[in-house]
Symmetry: C6
Subunit: 252 residues, 6 copies
Amino acid sequence: MSRRVATGVRGLDTMLAGGLLPGTAVLVEGAPGTGKTTLGLQFLWEGATHGEPGLYLTFEEFPEDLYRDAAGFGWDWRQLESEGRLRTVFTSPEIALADLTTPGSPLLQDIHTLGIRRVVIDSAAHFREITVDPVELRRHYRVAVNALKREGVTTLLLDEDNQWIGGLAQAPHGLSFVVDSVIVLRHVEIESGIRQALFILKQRGSAHEREIRQYHITARGLEVEAAFRGREGILTGSPRRSVAQRAVDAFG
Amino acid sequence: MSRRVATGVRGLDTMLAGGLLPGTAVLVEGAPGTGKTTLGLQFLWEGATHGEPGLYLTFEEFPEDLYRDAAGFGWDWRQLESEGRLRTVFTSPEIALADLTTPGSPLLQDIHTLGIRRVVIDSAAHFREITVDPVELRRHYRVAVNALKREGVTTLLLDEDNQWIGGLAQAPHGLSFVVDSVIVLRHVEIESGIRQALFILKQRGSAHEREIRQYHITARGLEVEAAFRGREGILTGSPRRSVAQRAVDAFG
Amino acid sequence: MSRRVATGVRGLDTMLAGGLLPGTAVLVEGAPGTGKTTLGLQFLWEGATHGEPGLYLTFEEFPEDLYRDAAGFGWDWRQLESEGRLRTVFTSPEIALADLTTPGSPLLQDIHTLGIRRVVIDSAAHFREITVDPVELRRHYRVAVNALKREGVTTLLLDEDNQWIGGLAQAPHGLSFVVDSVIVLRHVEIESGIRQALFILKQRGSAHEREIRQYHITARGLEVEAAFRGREGILTGSPRRSVAQRAVDAFG
Amino acid sequence: MSRRVATGVRGLDTMLAGGLLPGTAVLVEGAPGTGKTTLGLQFLWEGATHGEPGLYLTFEEFPEDLYRDAAGFGWDWRQLESEGRLRTVFTSPEIALADLTTPGSPLLQDIHTLGIRRVVIDSAAHFREITVDPVELRRHYRVAVNALKREGVTTLLLDEDNQWIGGLAQAPHGLSFVVDSVIVLRHVEIESGIRQALFILKQRGSAHEREIRQYHITARGLEVEAAFRGREGILTGSPRRSVAQRAVDAFG
Amino acid sequence: MSRRVATGVRGLDTMLAGGLLPGTAVLVEGAPGTGKTTLGLQFLWEGATHGEPGLYLTFEEFPEDLYRDAAGFGWDWRQLESEGRLRTVFTSPEIALADLTTPGSPLLQDIHTLGIRRVVIDSAAHFREITVDPVELRRHYRVAVNALKREGVTTLLLDEDNQWIGGLAQAPHGLSFVVDSVIVLRHVEIESGIRQALFILKQRGSAHEREIRQYHITARGLEVEAAFRGREGILTGSPRRSVAQRAVDAFG
Amino acid sequence: MSRRVATGVRGLDTMLAGGLLPGTAVLVEGAPGTGKTTLGLQFLWEGATHGEPGLYLTFEEFPEDLYRDAAGFGWDWRQLESEGRLRTVFTSPEIALADLTTPGSPLLQDIHTLGIRRVVIDSAAHFREITVDPVELRRHYRVAVNALKREGVTTLLLDEDNQWIGGLAQAPHGLSFVVDSVIVLRHVEIESGIRQALFILKQRGSAHEREIRQYHITARGLEVEAAFRGREGILTGSPRRSVAQRAVDAFG
């Protein structure tokens, strides 16, 4: 229906019927170690190298760590920063909220000056450090997301839950309301190993693939592979072979 | 037994033995991304194009987002608004409650002037932002529902729970008392994919189908399909093949 | 051992070895949409049409809604009210408690004047709105139940829990102590549908059937059917076929 | 090793290697409707008709209800009360605690005058109404149990938990320390019915049978039957047939 | 690697590669009725009759009850107390903590005078009655354990959890840090009966057997038997036959 | 991509594609008795004997206990301490935090003087004793980790959770954000025994093996063995044989 924003992740754009919808906010919900930061870097790198400047807004990671992480995938972050194609801001969620709602704030100036089209916020979890009041928290989510929508940028909102393994965890209170799309990253145990699974739970205003797909974190970032054929109960974290597959295993 | 209010969702009206009962309040309980907003829009569109003006009362979504969402299904919301057949109100739950109980309030005037017959409230969850006191909350639910019943309108009360996948979650405290019907929307994992399931848990004063049906969100809105034949445990979120089906799989 | 109070529900009276014990309090614990109100109406209608006047004490439902519900089953509630055979009281739990313990209160006068033999309280859940203190709550339950026992009436105490599907929920704190019998209504998922199951968990001073039976809500009210033969784990909400049944399915 | 106190329940005394140890306190932990009160009455009746006067200390049940319950099993409670062989006391846990620790209190006088050898306390749950402080609560349990031990009586301490079905609930905090023995009563679902199961979890200073046995509540009180042969997972509340039994079912 | 401290429990010493390490603190974590007190008595009796005087420090049990329990196993506790080989102290956790850290306190004098080599503390759970503050609680555990380590004694710290059946409970907060070894006692349901299972979860500075073994409480105390061969899922509390065993059952 | 820091654990370095990344912080999350301390000692011993001095910072263990534990593996800790190759510091988390952030503090002087390259913190759990405020706690984690990163040392942050058996526990709030890698140690029940399982959940900036491997604690420390072939559901704590393996068992 409209132009798509390619994530740069092989396979994920296909799942998204071409990419994200421009100007939307996307929640990336993942367990520790599922590659949320990598996905964020990859999303911005894809944009920056295709004419869409990007901003990485981090409340936790030192920029140096991000540079090193990016370098591990062959992405020279500093170079593109020096060219005005990328920008990394290390701040607190309180300051970010204030800046996003204050016309002429340094953050908004950056967005305007550089023509930022893509933003990554690392992470939504840090808003939960500002307040434990669910109403106030929801207001913060909404303020941040709406401010970025006003700028017309496409935003990845990274969020980490505490569930090591499996996928039946609950949505973070109030956050799924605010976003247009939800991508979930999970560890699952298959054949005595820990595999990574990705699925799209929601994409507002657009169809999307509904398979649960395995992905790998390779030297080129995330790569989405085949769906988990022949498995049931993937999202329990401990899938079992499906019956058809069992028959093949046992008698095939 | 009485005239029915067609939802406009293919298959759902059949499940409802023709549609909703006029003048009742219907809880639509769904996980994030199950299409609650789409169902709400579809319900109002169906009415507006068949002589029953509708009102979308939202505490969260910007009207612009709703217009865009509707447009994605080919529904020109603004056009019907300009014709007085649809009305979108973006307000807070507190103001909505006050308006619904104040004779001559702008909201009630709208309802009367336009001859509103259908209302969608998006969402019941926002009432839980007003108070954490269960007694007060229940009173709010009741006030809103009863005020709309007095107007004779049929109301969809959208509600979101935090359960990503599966269906054994608990009913929101106090809400199931207040409504006449309950429709539940769920994500379930089947054959390595995330599918959508719908069932009717309660319909006051009328029989209804009790199958759990799969549905799709298509370019024309929700479409309810066949029941999940050959599956057990759908509402655990991770169904297994039933035994009869297993025999067919393995030996058939 | 003594005369029984027929509930009017086909099959349930058989399970109860003839009916309820006169003068006892019966907890009807059910999930949303399992037909608790219908059972209450049916119980009173059965009595009123067989010489036992009844009182419906509601803290939530408008009498008009009850009249409509009753009419849906062919029960002309208003007619029997006008004949003094039924009485509907819409009040608050606080006032009901005060009335039940005040000699000569309007409620007790009604009971005496009309010769009420059956009472339905809709619902026990509303007592939990008066207080969160478990000791005080239990005292309220006890006061209400004992006051009605003093009047010699047989009472159905409707109660709703929040569990959508399945039956392993916990008993409401303190309530099971106070009542003489417990009837449980549940939704369970069978063959991709939501079915209704009923069982008797307790009947003081009398034997009772211990099967879990399926029931339907028909145009004549609840009808209790056969037990769930060939199923195990019904009360998990997601039963499986029993092994004997599987053998029949697979090889039979 | 020492004389035993017969419970009067057929089968249970066998499980207890002859009966309870004299002078001990026995926790009877059961779900609603499992027959705890019946067991208590039966225990006292057995004693009273065999030269061991008994005391029923109730914080909840009206003596009239107990008389009626007992009569249902053919036990003429009033008659034995008039003969000084039984005594029923309806009081509060606070007063009971005070009386048990005050030399010459009415309660202790009763115990001494009548030569009480068996006591039933209905129920331990009511002590939890006095305080929510776990230390104080434990002290209350201990005071009550130790006072009765000083009198040399054998005590059944009835306790109700909130778990409708199944048996994996947790022990009530601090109570299992205080008692010498624990008997557990449970509802379990078998072949579409609710059955009753009993097992002994602890018997201080004596061996005891460790089978889980089915029991019935008959016209003569509780009767303990065979163990649940051919079943696994009884205490999950939803047992499955064991594999050996499945083979018999399927091929036998 | 060093001399071992035999527990006196047949089979357990084998599992411990000869016994406990001298001067260590061992947590014995068990459900109600698993025989913790018996194990404690047996441990001290074994020492006392082999030249290692022992101290039973109880916060709950009356010494008379312990004497009786011991007598049930043929252990004449009073006799060995009169010979200075055993000592039983009934005190509060507060006083015990004060005494253990006050040079010259009665408790430490006893330990020195009698040459105590083994101590049983019954139970660690009572420390949780002093405080609910986890930091302070942990300090108490540590103070008690370290004071006893300074005396060079080997300590069994009995602890009771509330889980009736099964073994997947959580470790008591902060306690597993403080101790050198952990022995777990559990009830499990097997073939319609309640069996007892024991395993060693941790033994600092030494190898140990890692099987889950069944044990019995016999007239001679605990006796550890064979491992639970042919079972899976023992620690769920409701084990299933393993597949290999199933094949034997079905076809063997 | 860069030089690796060998852990000294046979098999683990292979899983880590050569070892840990220098200058990173690694969370070692384990249940009680899984060998976290042993792994910490082994990591430092490996370094100290290969030119990389190490510091063991303990908030719980007496240095004497560590010396004894190390000696049990043949590691003469005192000797290497006297040679300035190892350093053991027993302090409180508050003092450690203050020292790590105060230039010239004794702790930092030690690190500089001895040329410390490896640090073990035993344990992260003790930071949770300083505060229950999640924001403050996260700040403490971050301060400690960042201070050590500034020194360029590689840090093992030991952490204990309360889950006896199984692996589906939740990540400690806020901690997984702060660290670069996560290694998880678990007890699992297999064939009636308690086995130890290890997997790497996250390794920032590097690929790593994703198998779940069994390990043993031997006389030479941890030794990582083969993956758990033929098992499914390892991280439930109670694995089942996979279907392929079942076929081999039953028919092979």
